[in-house]
């Protein structure tokens, strides 16, 4: 089992007392499989994704990634985990505006110490980015930017891809095309995919789906 969450609790402090965002979450995901995490706005989907990414820590429970409980790891270890094992795709793309497309694509792979120019070339071609490698993010359309973000994540060949509403900022046709590409490339790399979405239509295209409601899996 690549990913296993056990009894995860997460609270957010508010003016009216702590808000129980995640309540006793148990979840698992095998290598090479994909899982959709659905739920309404505010149900805790993104929070759960951030916990798995080591961007935040739970108040209770365990998160086992590749057999290691990442809860309690220090900042440096978590950073190393994000560099080497995890790949993140955000709704807002979050490309690095000061780097061109080629540098953005290669960035995480090089950061992880796994640069692979041949693979990058394949990725760029598959993602339709070969002609825009010298452009900067602000010169790209939203669909192109998201393709760069996906390419950046997959270039590092992460074992687990975490995607937070990756097509949320795109129109339906572009979103479908981008998702198709992402799913096929994730499958080719053998990575597992945990994708947050509020779209049942998109969720149904993954191997499995779980629904989050008011901090609980239902």
């Amino acid at each position: 089992m690549l990913l296993r969450l056990h009894q995860i609790d997460k609270f957010y402090p508010t003016g009216e007392g702590p808000l129980h965002v995640l309540n006793g979450i148990d979840l698992s995901l095998e290598a090479g499989k994909s899982l959709a995490l659905t739920g309404e706005s505010g149900s805790g989907k993104s929070t759960l994704l951030h916990l798995v990414a080591g961007l935040d820590s739970p108040d209770a429970g365990e998160i086992h990634l590749g057999g290691t409980n990442i809860v309690g790891l220090n900042d440096t270890a978590l950073a190393a985990l994000r560099r080497g094992t995890i790949g993140l795709v955000f709704q807002q793309f979050n490309l690095i505006p000061s780097l061109d497309v080629a540098a953005n694509l290669a960035f995480q792979a090089r950061l992880a110490g796994r640069p692979d120019p041949a693979w990058l070339k394949v990725l760029a071609k598959r993602l339709g980015l070969s002609q825009v490698l010298t452009r900067y993010p602000e010169q790209l359309s939203a669909g192109q930017q998201q393709r760069v973000a996906i390419g950046r994540t997959l270039a590092a060949r992460p074992r687990l891809v975490l995607a937070d509403e990756p097509t949320g900022n795109l129109d339906e046709a572009t979103g479908d095309a981008v998702l198709d590409l992402m799913l096929s490339l994730v499958a080719e790399t053998g990575a597992a995919l945990l994708m947050v979405t509020h779209s049942n239509r998109l969720a149904n295209r993954l191997n499995a789906r779980v629904h989050l409601h008011a901090g609980r899996l239902v």
């Binding site: 961007l55 935040d56 950073a79 560099r83 490309l95 690095i96 995480q108 992880a112």
Partner: protein, 802 residues
């Protein structure tokens, strides 16, 4: 509607108190330095005006001798008999103990009403004034300085300039040892018709029209222009902060502006509300700034007064008076500065499309076109500077050259830095290094204003410190040459002087007279010295240019040496003829360095001096003796003749005093330099602080991809240090160019001497360390905040809650 709109606009500052503090602080500091300099200049100019107005000089014409020498009292008698309504005045400098004062002697019975400074004729004051021992009238601070000295009775008179005493002409002639001599004749405004022409009655005299400014004001103009230029530079650096803070606040409120417009607030009302907001800030900060300016001025004025006294012989009181004009000017400059700094933002707001998408930080993102335009403007300015350097002349041209050079360099800085950062990015190895260089380049537009301010401050520091250090080095060498004698003695009377000469004859290697008279040479006030034919002068005198065998020509009475300032001001050179007091002429055989002397100086042979001016005072002497014996000889002189300590001074004592005066002269520029650097540091801090809040969307993805917050914080700190270091590197050549202009153009015009330039890399290293410290401190706070930022704040970037 207006109130609702204003509430919405002002709420921005409630949420961002640090930004408001930066805006007010920037404006206050800018105003403070400007007002401080203006307060100093105002005080000095008021003092010159008082001096110029004394005895109605600014309103009454005068009769003087063409050569500036004193005239015989008989001239007065002749003119009165010929029907001229004139009143005699004698003036000169003398020492009461250790207080040196200007003595003005007047005739109260013939003095025109316009020249009546003190109501001497009132009550029973006339008799004691005109009869021995006489009365000295002086301003309160001058009277206070005389309390410990042996003088005739002193009375306080408001309105007299400091450092001046007024007395009866008869008493003044006694005090100045100028029996039957007068300096000039004041003319009554209404003269009788039918009086004999001047050229018949007094052919040696010439009419001088009233002058409103006076010699002092003209002489010190360049000094005050220097100060004003520095004050303006500091003000401009402060405005960078203001511009940056206002631009940021406008950009952050762009959505609010759009909403207010969409809700029905007319653009005109919105702009007027923002102008009202800015004016309120400007007035508030202006008030604080002017008050701070007075503090700065009070701290600097004693040094400025000492400088003016040392360099120009101008007496300026060391205390400051509150002048409404300075307050008004300070508030006006704060308001004008704010409006200038906000003009671009207001213009953009006026043209803001109602439905255009928000572009965060558009204010800071200089497009390539804007950068190119800036580059062109920089090039034009630098070429203009080169043109002025080649073709221009005069002090105004010097300052225009400085302004074009500094502004051109500041505008070119972002372009230069972009080039260097591009190069850094190309040479970088590894993704993080590449990102670091590229990201630094992207931050440049937001930081460029602060960096330009830093460049100006650093260049000013490099330039001024190079100028001062070059001056110090030259000055120290010059002192060694000029003060070659081991002891300097001043006798109290001619009889004592003769006795001292006799006493020293057997006890020293040489006794060299330091005798001089004062007068006018080539229309300028000057002192004429006689020197003995001695190796002391041949071996040591700091000659800049001379004909062959110059000292032989001086010894034989066949020529005169003049100081550099007289040569430059009057464009005199070797071989030119000058007319000396008394009307005799001499050929210029050499020019020598004479730093720190406000007036012209001429050196002739001692015999020639005595021949032309038999009444010359013969009280001062330089003594040559083996250095080891100087101290005991000085003690012997004091014991033998009962001379006060200040009448026998050794070489080291004079050198120490001269260097002290020198250091004090440049204290003011040093303090202004440090303050300007402080303001630039603050500009950097303000920019980094405000930008740091907008950095998270750029930093969070890198953090998410596997960098720790601490690592990112170090990179942020390194970025600040790198930019400061690059700016310092750019500032060095600009500073050297600035020093060259100061030494070769401004100093020559302002003081009348040109100095060789020396370079002091050690000073630059210290300044670089200071700049890095300031930049490090400015970047440390945001970096520290980033290192301690909670992950949830970084996650907001991805959760779209920002």
């Amino acid at each position: 509607m207006v109130w609702t709109g204003l509430t919405a606009l002002l709420s921005h500052w409630r949420r961002r108190p640090v930004q408001l503090a930066m805006l007010l602080l920037g404006l206050s500091l800018a105003t403070a330095l400007w007002s401080g300099v203006q307060a100093i200049n105002g005080e000095a100019r008021a003092s010159y005006d008082r001096a110029a107005a004394i005895l109605g000089q600014d309103r009454l014409a005068q009769l003087v001798r063409e050569d500036g020498a004193r005239m015989d009292q008989q001239e007065f008698v002749r003119l009165r008999r010929a029907g001229w309504l004139v009143s005699p005045v004698i003036e000169g400098e003398m020492r009461f103990g250790d207080v040196r004062l200007r003595v003005l002697g007047i005739d109260p019975l013939t003095l025109p009403p316009q020249a009546q400074q003190v109501d001497i004729a009132a009550g029973d004051q006339l008799l004691p004034f005109i009869t021995a021992p006489g009365v000295l009238y002086a301003a309160p601070e001058t009277a206070a300085r005389l309390t410990e000295q042996a003088t005739p009775p002193v009375r306080v008179a408001e309105g007299l300039p400091p450092g001046t005493v007024l007395t009866d002409i008869g008493q003044a002639q006694v005090l100045l040892r100028a029996k039957d001599k007068i300096s000039r004749l004041l003319l009554w405004p209404d003269q009788p018709i039918g009086r004999a022409p001047l050229e018949v009655t007094a052919p040696g005299l010439t009419l001088r029209e009233p002058s409103e400014t006076g010699d002092l004001a003209r002489l010190t103009d360049s000094f005050h222009l220097n100060l004003t230029a520095f004050g303006f530079l500091a003000f401009a650096v402060g405005l960078f902060i203001v511009h940056s803070a206002i631009g940021l606040a406008f950009e952050q409120r762009r959505q609010v502006f759009r909403t207010l417009r969409a809700l029905g607030l007319p653009a005109r009302v919105l702009v007027l509300l923002l102008i009202a907001e800015l004016l309120t800030f400007a007035l508030l900060a202006g008030l604080v700034g002017v008050a701070l300016g007075y503090v700065v001025a009070s701290a600097l004025l004693p040094d400025v007064a000492a400088t003016l006294r040392g360099l120009y012989g101008a007496d300026v009181p060391g205390t400051l008076s509150i002048r409404p004009a300075v307050w008004a000017a300070g508030l006006a400059i704060a308001v004008i500065g704010t409006l200038v700094a906000a003009a671009q933002s207001l213009w953009r707001l006026w043209h803001l499309p109602l439905l255009a998408a928000a572009q965060p930080r558009a204010w800071a993102r200089a497009s390539e076109r804007a950068l190119r335009a800036q580059g062109v403007a920089a090039m034009v300015l630098l070429l203009t500077a080169a043109g002025i350097a080649h073709f221009g002349s005069g002090l105004e041209a010097g300052f225009a050259l400085l302004a074009a050079l500094l502004l051109g360099a500041a505008l070119a800085l972002p372009l230069v830095l972009t080039g260097i950062l591009h190069l850094g990015g190309r040479l970088a190895r590894g993704p993080l290094a590449e990102w670091f260089w590229a990201d630094t380049r992207q931050q440049l537009p937001g930081l460029s204003l602060a960096l330009m301010a830093l460049l100006l401050a650093l260049a000013a520091n490099v330039g001024v410190s190079t100028m001062v250090s070059s001056f110090r080095l030259t000055f120290t060498g010059w002192l060694d040459q000029r003060l070659a004698s081991e002891l300097y003695v001043t006798a109290r009377t001619e009889a004592e002087a003769t006795a001292i000469r006799d006493w020293l004859a057997q006890r020293s290697e040489a006794v060299l007279p330091i005798w001089s008279i004062e007068g006018r040479v080539a229309g300028q006030p000057a002192a004429i010295y006689g020197v003995a034919d001695h190796a002391t002068y041949r071996d040591n005198w700091p000659i800049l240019s001379a004909v062959p065998e110059v000292w032989d020509r001086i010894a034989t009475g066949d020529g005169a040496l003049i100081n550099e300032q007289l040569a430059r001001r009057q464009e005199l050179g070797l071989g030119d003829q000058i007319t000396l007091p008394g009307g005799w002429r001499a050929s210029i055989v050499g020019v020598y360095a004479d730093y720190g002397n406000p007036i012209g100086q001429v050196i002739i042979g001692i015999d020639t001096l005595v021949q032309h001016y038999p009444d010359v005072s013969r009280l001062r002497y330089a003594i040559r003796i083996a250095p080891g014996k100087a101290e005991s000889l000085a003690a012997g002189l004091r014991t033998e003749f009962g001379l006060p300590a200040q009448n026998v001074i050794d070489q080291a004592g004079i050198k120490a005093f001269s260097l002290k005066v020198f250091e004090r002269t440049f204290n003011v520029t040093a303090v202004l330099n440090v303050l300007t650097l402080g303001v630039a540091g603050l500009a950097m801090f303000a920019s980094v602080m405000t930008l740091s809040g907008m950095r998270l969307p750029q930093l969070a993805p890198v953090w998410a991809m596997g960098l720790t917050r601490r690592h990112l914080a170090w990179l942020e700190l390194s970025r600040g240090l790198l930019l400061a270091a690059l700016t310092m590197l750019a500032a060095v050549p600009v500073g050297i160019a600035l020093a060259f202009v100061l030494l070769a153009v401004v100093n020559v015009e302002a003081f009348g001497w040109r100095l060789p330039m020396h370079l002091f890399p050690g000073d630059w290293a210290r300044l670089a360390a200071l700049a890095l410290l300031a930049a490090g401190l400015a970047a440390a706070v945001p970096a520290w905040r980033l290192a301690r930022l909670s992950p949830s704040d970084l996650l907001k970037v991805f959760a779209h809650e920002r």
